[in-house]
Structures are given as C-alpha cells and as structure tokens.
C-alpha cells in the first residue's frame, strides 16, 4: 500500500479573541490546535481523545475543511486540501464525510428522513433520477439497521439511537472513503451505544472505510480504534497502537486520564488506590510555559516549566511528548 491516506503536519489553528463592539480589536488568541502531526492509513481507525477544549474537534473540522488552519498542512491522498477549490473541492467533499455527536440538532426537524438522506445525493447531482434516489435511500436505511419505511417519518418520531443511524446513513450516501466521527455515541443511552459502535464496525468492514474517531470515552475508543492519539491543550501528548497505549501508557497525562475512568466492578474499584490528578485544564488563551501539562503533572521537574517537550518515538510507533519518560 502506498503512503497514508491522510497526513496532518504541523497543524495550528488559532482563533482571535476580540474586544469592543464599535471598534473591534484583537486582544489575544485561543490556541485551539497548536502543532499537531499524525497520519491515518487506508482502512485504519485512529482515535483522537482528550478532554473538552483539547482541540480534538477543531482538528476534525480542519480536516473537513470547515476551518482554515492558521498553519500546517493537511494532505489527503497526496493533495494538500488547502489548495482545493471549485470542482476539486466538491469531489473532496464526497470522499470525506462526518457524523456528529448530537443526533437531535444535526437533523433538520422539518425534513423527512428520506429527504435528509437524499439531500447530499441531490446537492452533488449524483443521482438525478428520483426513483433511483428513493431506492438508494431505502437501501442505506436498511444497511444502517433501520426499517426502510422510516424514510417517510420525521426525526422527532425516532429515538436518539435511531436518529444517529440516520446521521450515519446520510454520511454513507456519498460512498465516502473517510469518515470523521465526532463523538458519535456520547449523546446516546448506554444500552444504545454498543449498538451504534457495532454498526460503525460493520460498516468499516463492509465498505472498507477509514475513520478518525473523536471521543472522550476511553473504553469505546479502545474497543474501536487500532491507534490512539491523546490530546491535551492543543497538542498530541501521546500516540501509539491501541493496545500499547492502554496497557502501558507512558505520558503522565494519559496515565491520569486512564486512572480517572471508573471500572464497572465494585471489587476492582475497592481494591484500587486512586488519587485523582490535581488541578484543572488551563485556558488555551494563556497556556503554561514549557510543557503544557506541567502544573498538574506528578513527574514535573524544573526543566518542564521552561522547555516544551517535542514528540519522540520511544518505541517503534509509540510517540510521547514528555522529556521525563525514558
């Protein structure tokens, strides 16, 4: 296989912070993404995890070209997506799709399910024939585990899990090769989450899809992803194969994050000596000097307050941005 499908290099996304109404002036900037590098291979699922404000969603939006990055390159299948326009951009938008977190706000309440799924086909002029379009919609619904008759219903008639299946069917309508899944199960009930996770896995196999799976639920990420990148305050602090990352996390933040997840087993929990990591996530407007995690880090030494640790490959394929990890 030739090269990765997606390469993100030195990605920075800084949003200006303005003050004043009549005379607006920029008073600072939020460094939502501040130097991120990773690749995603064909057919791979890369998990992007971290807490709110770490920049995982902004990274996904840059890849979808919903934001123009401040700096850096996003190479999709050999082409820098920043250079795309007109026809090429439309073609790109067919190949890469998105599934959003909230199945309540991402579906238009005034449109029937069938219209919602057919809309991308219509917009991109893929299927001008309306009978064929209807047939395709019904096929997509049944691929996503819904009754094809749901095409005539409205979103409010469906449960959260069913709506999320509609969101997935809409993403699949374009026959994409790459899907950015932005917290696709976190708004769903526990009993429904597993259904949707299984559906995403089935579709990945069936259509040979590549996923960027953005989430904060670590157990779901471990289940679904081959590789995982952990973000903190706009940077990737650790990236490795899923098994390596979860079995032997190296970065102190990854360790704190994993330790904070309670396991659904009272016996395991009672036998665990647990110390939550101190402090809160600092503001991305004014990130700490040196290593951004140093104010909360149990391993921090004086050097960490001055020097920003660069990502290093500690073992093959295992990247850590911490100078104290050996």
């Amino acid at each position: 296989m030739s090269g990765p499908l997606l390469t993100v290099r030195g990605l920075r996304m800084h949003f200006p912070v303005t003050e004043g109404i009549v005379r607006r002036r920029v008073t600072g900037e939020v460094k939502a993404v501040d130097g991120v590098d990773f690749t995603v291979a064909h057919g791979e699922t890369l998990g992007l995890v971290g807490e709110s404000g770490c920049g995982k969603t902004t990274t996904g939006r840059c890849i979808l070209r919903l934001e123009r990055p401040t700096e850096g390159e996003i190479i999709y299948d050999g082409v820098d997506i920043a250079t795309l326009d007109g026809k090429a951009l439309r073609a790109f938008r067919q190949r890469i799709q998105v599934i959003f977190q909230d199945p309540y706000s991402s579906l238009n309440p005034r449109m029937k399910i069938g219209e919602i799924i057919a809309e991308p086909l219509h917009v991109h002029g893929i299927e001008p024939d309306s009978a064929k379009r209807d047939a395709r919609v019904r096929e997509l619904l049944s691929v996503c585990g819904l009754n094809p008759n749901f095409a005539d219903r409205y979103p409010h008639e469906m449960s959260g899990g069913q709506r999320q299946r509609v969101g997935i069917a809409r993403a699949l309508a374009m026959n994409p090769e790459f899907i950015v899944c932005d917290e696709p199960v976190s708004a769903l009930d526990v009993s429904i989450q597993a259904q949707v996770v299984n559906l995403l896995e089935d579709l990945r196999e069936k259509f040979g899809l590549t996923y960027l799976f953005i989430a904060h639920d670590l157990s779901v990420v471990r289940h679904l992803c081959q590789r995982v990148a952990v973000m903190y305050l706009g940077r990737i602090v650790e990236m490795a194969d899923s098994d390596a990352l979860f079995d032997a996390p190296l970065h102190p933040y990854t360790r704190a994050l994993l330790a904070a997840v309670p396991v659904p087993d009272p016996t395991v929990e009672q036998g665990r000596d647990f110390q939550p990591v101190k402090g809160e996530v600092p503001s991305p407007m004014n990130p700490p000097s040196g290593c951004v995690f140093h104010p909360r880090c149990p391993m921090a030494v004086e050097r960490c307050t001055r020097v920003r640790p660069e990502p290093r490959e500690i073992r093959p394929g295992h990247i850590v941005a911490c100078d104290e990890v050996r």
């Binding site: 009930d189 526990v190 597993a194 157990s219 309670p262 396991v263 659904p264 009272p266 647990f274 939550p276």
Partner: protein, 324 residues
C-alpha cells in the same frame, strides 16, 4: 432504627400531548443514615423524576405526584405545606444537579448564593454568613475563597462551579444530599475530583447520599446499594457487589454486558441491549422490558412483574424469569 428516607409506592405522572406518561410508576426504596445509594437508569427511566418528587419540585401542570409517601426523618414530605418544604430543601436535604451553570443564578455572586442559604435556613447575619461561606469554599477545595466569593458563576470553570454547588448543598449541615448526574457535564479528570470530594465530605460528616447516574463505573466506585430503574420502575435492587457480580434482571445483565471495559481484554464485538428504549406513552400491561428481553415469553406480557427477593438478603428483582 428506621431509615432516614423511605419512598413508598411513589407515582408521578405527566400529562403530555401524546397521552399520560407514568414517569414514576410505583417506586419504593429507602436510604439509611450515612449510606450512599445509587439510582441507575437511562433517560426516561424515571430516576430524576423520583428525586424531584422527593423534593416536590415537579412542575404542576403538566406533572403531578398522584400517589405514595415520602417519609423523611419521620415526616411525610408529601403532606407538608410549601413553607415547611422550603425549610427542608437546602436545609436538611441538599441538592447537586447536573449542570452547575443553569442551577446557579448568573446575576448573583458566588458569595451571595451561599450566604442566601445560610441567612434563610440558619438565620445568620451577613458577617457570620460571609465567614461561613469562606469556610465552606475552603472545605470543597477552592483556592483563594475570599476572591472567589466576589466572582460570578461565568468566571468559574465547570468543575469549580460544581464545587460551589456542593458547598451550597453542605451549607446547612444536611442529613441527605441528592446528586442528580453531578459529574455528567464534566471532563473525566474533573469528574474524578468531584466524586472523590463528595465521597470524602459525606463520609466524614455521616451524610447520606443519593447519586443518580447512568455511569455504571461511577456506581461501582461509590455506591453501597444500587437501584436499577427501567420505564418508571425499579427492576433490580441490592448491595452494589450483588448487582454487579450476580445480576438477576435480564436488563441489568444485558446492560453490564454491553459496556466495554478498560480492565479487560478487548472483545471482538460488543454485546448490545437490542431494541429501542420504551415509549412511556405506550406501555402495555406486561413487563416493560419484554420487547428487548432474551428470556421473556408470552406470559411476561400479561402482568408487570413485582419486585421479589432473589439471591442473598437485600437483593431483589422484578422478573418472572429470575430464579430466587
């Protein structure tokens, strides 16, 4: 000794356009002094409505508590007058809700929101109340309390706001705190901090805690006893270890099996609870879980199963197929 709180056959209904929703349909459970009881369930299971009914915070219309009793420290809360009820809320029962941004008043300083409670319930004067408020912020782990007291909710982070909520709940030395999804809106590392704080504070002061959540991990770490709710009823109840290691209701069994676990090897595939959550406007005569149940048969559709003892003492399940 009688329990601190005893909920008896509570019924709460909502009148909606689609018909009457029995959000709470005959729920009974008790909480002893100083213990932590978890109420687990998915959206619409009635776990929050039960708690709001205990505090008589159900908006009427459309909601109404139609039957039952809530005995707290020897008195039936459902028979109290509104002024008496106001004494209880924020007095001997503290509350912590999911979204600290909407449960704090955005136009009052943090300090005022705490001192208000103290002046109302404890009759302290402004100076005494301010001193106590500073004390409380210290206890919930907020640095520089004097400066924080002068700030407004929007100037605080989510975790900090939830600490303020806990300080308010603790202000009048309650006997019971009801926490409704207290950490759902927070990040994982902050969630752990808040839960550890609540556990330490309630344990040290002997405060009973009802924690309402959908997070099975949180329950395992913090609860002494667990009530599992489904479609407005308790379907299984018992000590936490019993519920997790010997679940008897098919819903509890399926729910525990469906969540991926970080402490176990990766499974090839998740084992989900099939089907959709129940539509509360269309519940039939039989067991509400029947359409999704792997054990159920036509006999389960005839009547709703009562909560009967199963397994070890203190454990019960509402299922015709659960062996005693």
């Amino acid at each position: 000794m009688p329990p601190l709180l005893e909920i008896k056959d509570l019924h709460t209904e909502f009148r909606t356009g689609a018909g009457i929703v029995r959000a709470v349909d005959g729920v009974s459970y008790s909480v002893d002094a100083g213990e932590t009881v978890a109420v687990v369930g998915e959206s619409g299971s009635g776990k929050s409505v039960t708690a709001l009914s205990v505090l008589r915070l159900i908006p009427n219309p459309p909601g109404e508590i139609t039957a039952g009793a809530v005995i707290f420290a020897g008195r039936d809360l459902l028979t109290l007058s509104e002024p008496e009820m106001r004494e209880i809320r924020g007095g001997s029962i503290g509350m912590v809700f999911q979204e600290p941004m909407t449960s704090l008043n955005p136009v009052l300083t943090i300090g005022r929101q705490i001192t208000e409670t103290l002046e109302q319930h404890r009759g302290l004067n402004r100076v005494e109340a301010a001193k106590r408020a500073e004390d409380l912020l210290n206890q919930v782990g907020i640095a520089e309390p004097a400066r924080r007291l002068k700030q407004y909710p929007h100037q605080l982070s989510g975790g900090m706001r939830q600490r303020v909520m806990i300080a308010i709940a603790l202000a009048c030395d309650p006997k019971l705190i009801i926490a409704d999804e207290p950490t759902t809106a927070l990040d994982v590392t902050i969630q752990a901090q808040i839960l550890e704080l609540m556990k330490a504070l309630t344990r040290d002061r002997g405060i009973a805690l009802i924690i309402i959540t959908h997070n099975l991990g949180v329950v395992a770490r913090y609860a002494d006893r667990v009530n599992v709710m489904y479609a407005g009823r308790i379907v299984e109840s018992g000590p936490a270890a019993e519920i997790y290691h010997d679940p008897r209701h098919p819903y509890t069994v399926a729910l525990l099996r469906s969540v991926p676990r970080l402490d176990r090897p990766r499974q090839a595939r998740l084992d989900p609870v099939e089907g959709q959550p129940p539509d509360l406007t269309r519940l039939g005569e039989g067991c509400a879980f029947l359409p999704r149940c792997r054990l159920g048969d036509e006999s389960c559709g005839l009547a709703r199963p009562p909560l009967n003892p199963v397994g070890n003492p203190g454990h019960s399940a509402a299922c015709f197929k659960a062996a005693a």
